[in-house]
């Protein structure tokens, strides 16, 4: 391990202090506050909070509206992840062949990641608009077939597609990098062993990028619980009738529109635990996988 150090530890203290202070103020303190609020209830007339134990949790977990948002969040997470990963994988594998136009294809696949979530939401709001966008075509053929402002499932579909659109780009970047880090001589060796293109993909490329694959899987799912706010806020505002009321959106609307701080804090805690669990899974499961090279 490292042997050479500097000896003035007070310099070290000075160096780490700013970041530590900031994360204390803006991360650890708020997190502990959230825990505090989740276990207390604010007095209606001010004057501090009273301890209510797990009451808030019982209220939240017994609320069917909450479970609706959980259900919606899970559907969203799984669907957008599945679509985004499948598409990105196929595109990355074929882009890796590095035919002419490689650079153009690559930049073409990467830039969507630079688009902000609300911009994506707004864009798709137009595209999917029953009156003015692309789907006006469909509606002119079969009237009222597509109307996400009324049809909850269609609204959720819109959100899923918007979410997947942005994710494909992110996944593509990682998949392509993983594929390109496989030494060319391995592919040449398997070609000499008689394997054709698809066989090589199956036997050499995919197994060697498995670590990245699982990493992306977890990141996609985790991000879809948290990154989706921008999309929902501009695309559907959680509607219609809570069909797209993702957990993170509900926290926002309960806390900042409904002023139910305790409820919002409780939901935040639950979401935090979920995200922590997923990250934990990633570290134990994914990082444990043998890194072969």
């Amino acid at each position: 391990m490292r042997r050479a150090y500097f000896n003035n530890n007070w310099v070290a203290a000075l160096m780490v202090a700013p970041q530590l202070i900031i994360i204390f103020v803006f991360f650890y303190w708020p997190t502990s506050q959230a825990v505090y609020w989740a276990f207390t209830l604010e007095q209606p007339w001010g004057g501090g909070n009273t301890w209510v134990g797990f009451d808030n949790f019982r209220a939240v977990l017994g609320d069917p509206v909450y479970w609706q948002s959980v259900r919606v969040s899970i559907i969203f997470a799984l669907s957008s992840t599945a679509i985004a990963m499948a598409m990105a994988l196929v595109l990355a594998v074929f882009a890796d062949r590095q035919l002419t136009g490689f650079k153009a294809y690559r930049i073409g696949m990467i830039w969507p990641y630079a688009v902000a979530a609300p911009a994506v939401g707004l864009a798709f709001r137009f595209v999917f608009n029953p009156n003015a966008g692309l789907f006006s075509y469909i509606n002119s053929v079969v009237p009222d077939l597509w109307n996400p402002t009324l049809n909850g499932n269609q609204a959720l579909l819109m959100v899923i597609i918007a979410g997947a659109w942005k994710l494909v780009s992110y996944n593509f970047i990682f998949f392509l990098a993983a594929l390109q880090s496989i030494p060319r001589s391995l592919l040449e060796a398997s070609a000499m062993d008689g394997a054709r293109v698809l066989r090589r993909m199956r036997d050499v490329q995919l197994p060697l990028m498995a670590p990245t694959f699982f990493f992306i899987l977890v990141i996609n799912i985790t991000d879809s619980f948290t990154d989706s706010f921008g999309i929902v806020d501009t695309l559907t505002n959680g509607g219609p009738a809570r069909a797209t009321d993702l957990m993170v959106y509900k926290i926002y609307s309960d806390g900042f529109r409904g002023f139910d701080y305790s409820g919002a804090a409780t939901q935040s805690i639950i979401l935090m635990l979920l995200v922590i669990a997923l990250t934990f899974v990633q570290f134990r499961y994914v990082e444990r996988r043998v890194h072969y090279t």
Partner: protein, 309 residues
Amino acid sequence: MIERTPALNIATHAILLFGLLLLLIPMWIIFVAATHDLQTVNTAPIEFLPGDQLLVNIAEAWARSDFATKFLNTFIVAFGVVLGKITLAAMTAFGIVFFNHRLRMPIFWLVFITLMLPLEVRIVPTYAVAANALTPFQTILDVTGISWLIQQVSGVEVALEWNLLNSYTGLILPLVATATGTFLYRQFFLTIPDELVEAAKMDGAGPLRFLWQILIPLSRTNIAALATIMFVYSWNQYLWPLLVITDRANYGMVVVELSNLIPDAITTGGGVPTWHLAMAANLLVMIPPILVVIFMQRWFVRGLINTDK
């Protein structure tokens, strides 16, 4: 490479083109919508070819939403975050890699844990902190009885307050409070050979000089990578500015402004949806980060991969 059979090449191009089209079609539709006038954009079915109103629409959207101020604000915040992140992360990584003290590991973990919970999950309490950034310190003083003591002794009531709402600081600081860049730097610093440190010591350089004159120049590519992703990240911030800024006229951010342009009953006063303006604005807002990603592609990709792994 091997197997450049025409059939396979055609299939490859076909698949890639198809994927590319799927990704690009929504954007093409946006672009086309931004080039037509109010009437055309609302007539079903939509046009697939661009019109000629692009500049007109952009000008109007710019004026209506006062994009001049907002672009400026967003640039300021973005640069603030980039600068803050680059500096702080470097300093912290330096402090935990090049010094040997018992707190190294605990500090590492403290910083590491912040990776697990992105801002969206803790918005409510973080907002409360922004309202009064000194609350934690106030609470500590209260709980430990020090503020009571001070009050007794000097008659001064300790009421610390620092309101970060509606300010650049409030926008920048919470975005800097994660571990992203620290690990990038740490990974890189760990690859610096011991001999370099020893040579510097023999040349009489102290830690700060070493950091500034040797480490930082060596970290140039990492800095570029980090700067790129942080720029895009902070430009695209939505939820946090939405909460923290109520004074839109002065401190509004560009991306947040988009939510104001959604053509619904509220923004158009019940009139015809102004999609052409909304899309033009959308284009404007999308451009800076896209440009950054395209021109700094290599750094951006490198930054993403190194920070997230």
